[in-house]
Symmetry: C2
Subunit: 139 residues, 2 copies
DNA sequence: ATCTAGTTTATAATAATTCTAAACTAGAAA
DNA sequence: TTTCTAGTTTAGAATTATTATAAACTAGAT
């Protein structure tokens, strides 16, 4: 799988989610998905990186809109870890994380690296939506 | 252990943490700790409940200050679960939670009810600070 | 009774996010 | 092609949770 010039692929992908392939969305797609490793970010960090190079700017509102749209479309996963900032993850498979309280960074833990040998039954009428563990670490 | 008129006890407790036993703090202590079961709350809900009865009001700033002071003193535990609101817990023992995405309420899971038979080693130089699981549930 | 550090409070400030509404554009249709 | 329109982008305002500020108040030591 070639990692550059995936533009056509992203156009397809966006169209298949009823999202118009605008230049802003394609730019963000390339930035987020033209990479081999998981990428964890906040809107703040994404905004900085997208708008680093002196090229045409993407507005903060569009960064918010796009991250929301990509999350709804299933291209991104939101990771609930910090009380005052949303984190997002390009790895949409079910998996766990270390969250470093010092650097405020997330690191993937493969799903198989944590084994839950006993899990309680949810209250009646409710079902488990998500069981991903965040292990908080520090120095 | 009698559940009413624990005032003297709270006075001691506060003094032992170098917190003056003001009437606001005692009122909040009584509200939070004069109960047998775990209580989970946000500052918003606590503020409403403390100021429900037409008695003298405790300001929102004091609610924030007190929750912060009680958390630092170890009377309360902060539960990181929601991206835009802090949750607190009168149960300061290590334990797990269900978080209902519909009602936005926490329910305790006793520590022994979840067994982690395999846990990854943290990155070198880092140690695990907290390993409490939040299981997200919904209808 | 006096004094002072700690506390409370109203209010302002901040930070993350969402909303609004006007300008812009992708792409379907004429 | 040009026209048209729903979808999109954008700057800026609004909202929400929280923290900071600074003046008034008070616990409790002296
Ligand atoms: Mn916040
Ligand atoms: Mn927020
Ligand atoms: Zn991840
Ligand atoms: Zn609890």
């Amino acid at each position: 799988m070639i990692i550059s010039d995936n533009l056509k692929m992203y156009v397809q992908k966006l169209r298949s989610s009823n999202l118009r392939p605008t230049k802003q969305r394609l730019k963000i797609c390339q930035f987020l998905f033209d990479r081999k490793k998981t990428f964890h970010f906040t809107v703040e960090t994404l905004n900085k990186k997208i708008n680093k190079n002196g090229t045409t700017k993407v507005s903060l509102a569009t960064i918010y809109n796009t991250v929301e749209a990509f999350t709804s479309a299933g291209y991104l996963k939101e990771i609930l870890t910090s009380k005052n900032k949303s984190y997002y993850d390009t790895n949409i498979k079910s998996h766990h994380h270390f969250y470093d309280e010092g650097s405020k960074e997330l690191t993937d833990i493969h799903y198989s690296q944590i084994k839950l040998s006993k899990v309680p039954v949810p209250p009646k009428g409710k079902k488990i939506k998500n069981l991903e563990v965040v292990i908080r670490i520090q120095k």
